[in-house]
């Protein structure tokens, strides 16, 4: 009886372990798979993630490389298809298609880190404030009040102007300010959870706070964190684009916001260079609304009443 079990545990076991871990991790995301919109959102994300991962294979050029023709002229303002540039080139002689492809990386990087920061910080604040109550709660909630009093976009502008231009400025600003919404909502959720019988029971039976939080509270607030996280993705990408447009962006990292800024500063409108300023806009819309779609999926999980 025991030998086949041992055999099965052979070389395959660790891989199966990883598989299970991946599956569990996947499951713990509580992906809203029963909602059409949410699935559309997830598919959009999947496509963008693939593009980001394989950007070096997909892109035809280095997105920051200044391109020249065979006769050493700047290859600027090429129309799509001209001289082999799929989507043409910018006024400074960069390949639009490659920028669009690499822009996916920045968008996902900014969006997902910002989402993780917002969801993580907001959840921690919310859980700590809601669970422990008292002074901790008072202090954290006053901090949230203050965060609500700071206008976000101006804050990012100031931050971006004072620090060296970087896409991370947006992420830092979001981490500093935008945890507030998540924090408040999760706190009130924790307050109701805390008074539930099973939490009371766990507490009476002497479980440690950490254990109660991880075992009983965390799983219940996860979908809520994800809801706010998926909205934060959009916020981050839109904010980065606005900051770039206002000239506080990082020109050494290619992002869609940077592309739009570059296009408008180079009079892409007057040049009728639709191939230049329309695709980044569409990409932003796609990825941001994908986040919204997914958030609606989470909303359905959370508030089934709202469903219809």
């Amino acid at each position: 009886m025991s030998s086949p079990v041992t055999l099965a545990k052979g070389p395959q076991a660790p891989r199966r372990g990883i598989l299970r871990m991946v599956r569990n991790a996947f499951r713990s995301l509580h992906l809203p798979l029963d909602d059409g919109f949410a699935i559309a959102g997830l598919v959009i994300y999947a496509v963008f993630v693939l593009v980001a991962l394989f950007a070096p294979q997909i892109a035809t050029h280095d997105p920051t490389e200044i391109l020249f023709t065979a006769t050493f002229d700047l290859a600027a303002d090429r129309r799509p298809g001209e001289d082999g540039f799929i989507m043409g080139t910018t006024s400074l002689g960069r390949d639009v298609f490659s920028q669009l492809v690499y822009g996916t990386q920045s968008a996902l990087l900014i969006g997902i880190t910002a989402a993780v920061m917002v969801a993580l910080i907001g959840s921690i604040v919310g859980v700590v404030a809601g669970y422990f109550g008292g002074w901790t709660d008072t202090i954290l909630m006053r901090l949230a009040d203050i965060a609500f009093g700071i206008p976000f976009l101006p804050f990012v502008i100031v931050l971006a102007a004072f620090l060296e231009p970087s896409i991370w400025n947006v992420v830092i600003a979001m981490a500093l300010i935008l945890w507030r919404d998540t924090g408040r909502v999760i706190r009130s959720q924790v307050l109701t959870l805390r008074s539930r019988a099973y939490v009371e029971a766990a507490r009476v039976s002497g479980s440690s706070d950490l254990k109660i939080i991880l075992r009983h509270i965390a799983p219940n607030i996860l979908p809520l964190s994800f809801l706010y996280g998926s909205i934060a993705i959009g916020w981050a990408i839109l904010t980065e684009a606005s900051i770039s447009f206002l000239g506080f962006g990082d020109s050494s990292t290619i992002s869609w916001g940077y592309m739009l800024q570059d296009a408008f500063a180079s009079q892409a409108l007057s040049k009728n260079a639709f191939y230049w300023f329309v695709p980044p806009g569409i990409c932003i819309i796609l990825i941001v609304s994908a986040g919204f779609f997914i958030s609606r999926g989470y909303e359905k999980i959370l508030f089934p009443k709202l469903g219809r």
Binding site: I66, D250, A265, S266
Partner: protein, 549 residues
């Protein structure tokens, strides 16, 4: 591509030859640039230059930062940087080469002045000091020529281009023949605004600026756009003419009594905008206020004046401490004439206050110039109206400056007629010329600027203290490539700080340079620099010691 192949071949040769030496590798060199959003051309040429320098075996790190941070490093931490992109803008008073050739390179300005690169050359100092006091134009020209030759040999900076200023106007509204192109400045100038003639019913000059107007104050040198306004509201004794030379304006003429005394005669037909006549006492007052400390930015322009006397016959006599060749340009054509009856009490009040005259914004600015002040809508528009009583009364009715931060919108407005004079265009000039060809009713004029773009080397830090190294770096980059790739053709290669837009002062003898990676490599090789494992090394025996920051 071609040069790259050569580079690798040469690298192999050099590394074989120099491998036995005890040479020290050159550290990573920083190259500072402003962001692309603010300065697309600069960002672009910095990328190109970095690409080229890397082919020499230099490790170049481009650092992009906003101007305030860049200036903080370059200006206030003079030991802390290697190379930076920099810009000198063209202004009418820079039509006299003194400010540039002296301030940028003289030893006295190295500590905290404009010689932030730390260029120290006694021979050069002597020449530029001499030109200051040489009143004879030809003799002075020879000295300025000589100074340019020294700079060309030393390459304290890597000169890149004189950009072209490109402006446009609606030729269905304005008579193109009456638009004046001022050398080194372009068509957006006071002469145009006075002389431009309307063809039809639209008699208002409506022009744009992408930047806000900071102040309308005759005693404050504020933003670049502000000077467009102040030059129209206030008169000066002289004005820089379209040819770049000072010519009589409020003065009918001048006469050097000796090397340090100059007598100027004031016109007798001038009135302030409030109807009070302009007197020599007003003129004296204007120069005195400029030197009083209440207008600190104007101080340097009158610091050479020892005393001012007014005469009965509408004359003013200036006595100078030292002879000054640039006095007409930098003082007489610089100081705004202000009414004593308006500013007298103000200055008196300010003398005991913390603030100075720079903070004083008149509700209704009063000058004597060709345009009167009408209205100022914050960050939106400034309206001036023609002073029909002026000796050079404008042909237009009004001069309306619109603040349009969006370049794309500015061009759209020009095409739709919302503005009829494009006076500020930070965008791609190629778009303008194309629009002009397409529309037919736009005229675009490009003018080579007095100003220039360059890469500044920090002489305080090796290897930039070595002229040979600077020469090689400078020779590595083809200026025509910069013109084409960063300025889209709207610039001229620059080899001298004195612009070809100033033909009298520009030494065309320095207007050429052999460039190319191979040439640069040969120059480095000759100076003893070697390449080890693809990295450029100092000549044998030279060690890298950086100043303590």
């Amino acid at each position: 591509m071609r040069s790259l192949i050569h580079a690798t071949a040469l690298t192999a040769l050099l590394s074989a030859a120099g491998s036995i030496a005890t040479a020290e590798p050159i550290r990573t060199i920083d190259l500072l640039s402003r962001p692309q959003a603010a300065q697309p051309s600069e960002f672009q040429f910095v990328q190109i230059i970095a690409q080229e320098w890397r082919k020499l075996g230099l490790d170049v790190n481009v650092r992009v930062m906003p101007f305030e941070q860049m200036a903080d490093i370059v200006w206030f931490n003079r030991d802390a940087w290697d190379t930076t992109a920099w810009q000198m803008v063209g202004r009418p008073e820079r039509s006299d080469p003194d400010e540039i050739v002296f301030n940028l390179f003289h030893t006295t300005t190295a500590a905290d002045g404009f010689n932030f690169i730390g260029y120290l050359n006694p021979e050069y100092d002597a020449i530029v000091e001499q030109q200051r006091v040489t009143l004879d134009p030809d003799a002075r020209q020879a000295l300025i020529y000589q100074a340019q030759e020294i700079l060309a040999a030393d390459q304290p900076n890597m000169m890149l281009v004189h950009p072209e200023s490109t402006y446009a106007f609606d030729n269905t509204v304005w008579n193109a023949d009456t638009v004046v192109e001022q050398g080194g400045i372009g068509i957006r100038n006071t002469w145009t605004f006075i002389g431009i003639e309307p063809l039809g019913d639209q008699r208002d000059i409506i022009l744009n600026s992408s930047d806000n107007v900071q102040a309308i104050n005759p005693l404050y040198i504020s933003g670049g756009v502000d000077s467009w306004v102040t030059e129209l509201i206030w008169d000066r004794l002289m004005r820089i003419g379209p040819d770049g030379l000072p010519q009589p304006w409020a003065a009918t003429g001048h006469e050097w009594l000796d090397e340090t005394n100059i007598r100027v005669t004031l016109r007798d037909d001038m009135m302030w905008h409030d109807g009070v006549p302009v007197t020599v006492e007003d003129v004296k007052f204007s120069f005195e206020v400029a030197g009083s400390g209440e207008a600190p930015m104007y101080g340097p322009f009158v610091s050479n004046i020892a005393s001012i006397e007014t005469g009965d016959d509408n004359t003013i006599t200036f006595t100078l401490t030292n002879p000054s060749a640039s006095f007409l340009t930098s003082s007489l054509a610089k100081i705004n004439l202000i009414p004593q009856h308006v500013w007298g009490p103000v200055i008196e009040g300010l003398s005991t206050a913390d603030e100075n005259a720079e903070s004083y914004q008149e509700e209704m600015p009063i000058g004597s110039g060709p345009y009167r002040f009408e209205r100022w809508a914050t960050n939106e528009e400034i309206v001036l109206s023609s002073n029909t009583d002026h000796f050079a009364a404008p042909k237009a009715d009004r001069w309306i400056l619109r603040i349009v931060p969006n370049v794309e919108a500015a061009l759209g407005m020009l095409r739709s007629g919302e503005i009829n004079f494009l006076a500020d265009f930070p965008g791609d000039p190629g778009v303008l010329t194309e629009a002009a060809t397409a529309d037919g009713d736009l005229t675009v004029v490009s003018t080579v600027d007095i100003g220039f773009r360059y890469i500044a080397f920090n002489h305080r830090r090796p290897p930039f203290d070595d002229p040979a190294f600077r020469r090689a770096l400078s020779a590595a980059v083809d200026r025509n490539l910069i013109v084409g790739a960063a300025f889209r053709g709207f610039a001229q290669p620059s080899y001298s700080v004195v612009s070809p837009a100033l033909p009298f002062w520009h030494n065309s003898g320095v207007d050429s340079m052999e460039t190319g990676i191979e040439i640069a490599q040969r120059m480095l090789e000759e100076a003893g620099y070697t390449i080890v494992d693809g990295v450029l090394n100092y000549p044998d025996g030279v060690t890298e010691t950086l100043p303590v920051e």
